[in-house]
Symmetry: C2
Subunit: 272 residues, 2 copies
């Protein structure tokens, strides 16, 4: 089921700036037990993105009732995607002063692989595609995602996720997830974001949860050597929760990793 | 008039990856005297972009007859935009192995301001929005254009174009055009592209024309100081041809520039 500005349709006007320039933002939200998860955090990031792009906020009441009407149709689990674009109009790239934004809401089935990978772990590889530095466009989820498309096109069926580096060779994230490593002294490290990368809702949630559970956690600049020496690697996003990494294939070698003991309990509390 | 995969419609499927990820390429082509200008060069760059993104080429015969059928409806001048996307499908960012590409062709009216600015020149400003370095995505016209949207949102009605720098402070191009400066010794200089920026069809055409007319021309790394000391500045794209710059407002000052004498003759031969 798809809603465009509240109307059930499969179509969008060709003139939409989302198509022409990727001029918009999106959120991908897990629905579990018929409830959108972390909805307030997702809507906050959506607002942050609109503000960064100077896109007027959609009517949040309208958006809220559209989310509710889609969620109502879900039996248990599903994936909800919200796209907000600057709508049509403007003079080429230059936006209109007061654009009519477009709201697109789509529902997608929950894949069985999501929980399977939580239990069995994933095989991780290294992508050649790099993330460009642009602080103005980092953190939030805008519709300019060619770097992620190119990186995920590098994945073969053997690999469920790939690590992306920035132009300086720092480890930033996966193609669709944030990355955590557990070091020998049981510190959890995750890449510092700022020049590029997505400030994941699940990343924030995990950081808080680790602190609450007295697990030492730091945001830092991380290079490949640290990933190769880590005990555990974990990938997170709003849909998957935490996927532990079984093995990582870097340029030189393939190494196995142990599962961090907190992964299962973190995932468990997501489902309750 | 709009054609999507050869069919007259104003709509595109919501599922199209052009909307979700900016997963596609485009060309903007001048139609003059009922003829698409530099069509072969535009189609070559379109193919180059498809190849860079591993998007299968559209059927070029079909595309050619769609271009012809739109061009037939034009009285004299118009602007033709061609968008090729990876279509729908794939698993999130990850593309399908054999996607069905989407062809979108739209016609737009020729603006009176285009020829006016050729004769009277434009007022140029400096944009704060910078171009990120990503050689994998530079040169061709993909649909991830948020940097251009943000930069052109900085333009007020007083300025018809703005200069964009890269993250290292090098001058790269305008928000929708390439840039040329004429130095005191009558050398024409244009920024070297490679890390970012668009390899303009009109830029290529002007470079050739200058060489044929024995005017000294170089591609180089250009910093702000050189722009401020130049005799003339010119902006080029496929629609505008060459716009001479009357004045440029940098952070420190506003300076006037003389029109390069070759601009009018270059523009004239475009129209014949």
């Amino acid at each position: 089921m798809i809603l465009v500005n509240g109307i059930q349709t499969n179509n969008l006007p060709v003139s939409d700036r989302g198509l022409h320039y990727g001029d918009g933002v999106f959120e991908t939200i897990a629905i579990r037990n018929k409830q959108p998860q972390c909805l307030a955090s997702h809507l906050d990031r959506l607002k942050l993105g609109c503000s960064a792009l100077s896109i007027p906020l959609p009517d949040m009441d309208e958006l809220g009732s559209e989310i509710a009407s889609l969620t109502d149709t879900v039996a248990d689990k599903a994936i909800l995607k919200i796209i907000i674009t600057r709508g049509s109009g403007g003079r080429g790239y230059r936006p209109e002063a007061a654009p009519q934004v477009t709201r697109v809401l789509t529902l997608h089935p929950w894949g069985d692989h999501i929980n399977e990978h939580r239990e069995k772990g994933i095989q991780l590889t290294l992508c050649e595609t790099r993330l460009a530095h642009n602080p103005q466009l980092s953190g939030f989820k805008h519709l300019n995602r060619l770097e992620q498309v190119l990186a995920s096109a590098e994945l073969t069926d053997n690999f469920q996720e790939g690590i992306m580096q920035d132009m300086d060779g720092f480890i930033i994230e996966g193609t669709m997830s944030n990355l955590f490593i557990v070091t020998g002294d049981n510190t959890v490290k995750t890449p510092r974001l700022g020049q590029c990368g997505i400030q994941g809702i699940m990343r924030d949630k995990l950081l808080k949860w680790l602190k609450n559970n007295k697990i030492n956690v730091v945001e830092a600049n991380i290079r490949m050597g640290e990933v190769l020496q880590a005990q555990s690697i974990l990938m997170s996003n709003s849909i998957i929760g935490l996927w532990p990494v079984k093995s990582f294939k870097s340029r030189q070698q393939t190494r196995d990793y142990v599962f961090a003991d907190f992964a299962a309990s973190f995932n468990k509390q997501l489902d309750t």
